[in-house]
């Protein structure tokens, strides 16, 4: 997304020759394995929790989600989340951990400006985009289906 100024283009070949290339294959592999493993562990606990009498599959899914969110928030507070996220990229950003981390990190980061003006007003910095486009698109989809009568 960053635009390079035209003036600086003379050093592009030098960067190409000496800079380390972005390891795309490694990043993709790590994201796939870590993200997959996270979902696999979540699935295991989901199956385990659904064995408890009175808890449906849907409840088990929500319980696991809340636990994963709590862990992501805790790891963000401890400063561990960012270190892992630097290594695994989308492996932590695409699951709900990324959503939880974005709220926790901006809530924590803006704490110095006060709980209301800092944390409260800035907490949804990245999560706001998710909720904005999520609700926006969901309303449009639901309206279309209602108008077409396929609800």
């Amino acid at each position: 997304m960053v635009k390079k100024p035209k003036v600086a283009s003379w050093y592009d070949p030098i960067i190409k020759a000496h800079g380390t290339p972005r390891p795309l294959l490694r990043n993709c592999l790590v994201a796939f394995i870590f993200g997959g493993a996270l979902c696999a562990v979540a699935e295991y606990f989901q199956l385990l929790i659904s064995l408890i009498p009175g808890i449906s599959d849907k409840d088990a899914s929500s319980i696991v989600m809340v636990i994963v969110i709590a862990l992501a928030a805790l790891l963000t507070g401890l400063g561990v989340f960012d270190k892992i996220a630097q290594q695994v990229g989308a492996g932590l950003a695409v699951p709900i951990t990324g959503f939880a981390n974005s709220i926790t990190s901006s809530t924590l980061e803006f704490k110095s400006e006060g709980y209301v003006l800092g944390s409260g007003c800035n907490g949804f910095k990245l999560a706001g985009a998710v909720i904005f486009f999520g609700i926006g698109s969901a309303v449009v989809v639901a309206l279309i289906e209602l108008i077409l009568g396929i609800v």
């Binding site: 997304m1 795309l24 990043n27 993709c28 994201a31 796939f32 993200g35 997959g36 493993a37 996270l38 979902c39 696999a40 979540a42 699935e43 295991y44 199956l47 385990l48 899914s61 989600m65 809340v66 994963v68 969110i69 709590a70 928030a73 805790l74 507070g77 400063g79 960012d82 990229g89 989308a90 492996g91 950003a93 695409v94 699951p95 709900i96 990324g98 959503f99 939880a100 709220i103 926790t104 924590l108 980061e109 704490k111 709980y115 907490g123 990245l126 985009a129 998710v130 909720i131 486009f133 999520g134 609700i135 698109s137 969901a138 989809v141 639901a142 279309i144 289906e145 209602l146 609800v151």
Partner: protein, 122 residues
């Protein structure tokens, strides 16, 4: 117990991994910011939810489909459609947040608790 479950766990691994792979490609190849990537994935989830595809995937892959942020869009659509089925037009507005309630409530609550306890790392 893992003996009977390994196939479900493997499915979750494969589907969850594939979604993360797509996210990584959007980061690295399309050079999108995290906010753009998340917005695209959530919108994709809404559209897939509208076609009823995502629920089938979630039945198949379990946490592999419900944990990635794409399922957020799907759950919003499911809530909106369920509301529409019960209460018509106004049901869309009252039902839309039903499915994502746990995710948002937990994220906000734990974020606040963490902000109370920890100091930001510089």
């Amino acid at each position: 117990m893992i003996g009977e479950w390994w196939i479900d766990i493997l499915k979750a691994f494969l589907v969850g991994g594939c979604f993360c792979l797509i996210g990584q490609l959007l980061f690295d190849v399309a050079k999108l910011t995290p906010a753009h990537t998340m917005s695209i994935l959530v919108t994709a989830g809404s559209i897939l939810g509208g076609f009823g595809v995502y629920t089938k995937l979630a039945d198949w892959a379990g946490a592999g489909a419900t944990l990635p942020i794409i399922s957020f869009g799907n759950m919003l659509v499911i809530g909106a459609l369920e509301g529409a089925r019960n209460n018509g037009f106004w049901g869309i507005w009252t039902g839309i947040l039903g499915g994502v309630s746990a995710g948002i409530a937990a994220s906000v609550f734990f974020a606040f608790v963490v902000a109370l306890i920890f100091k930001p790392k510089t």
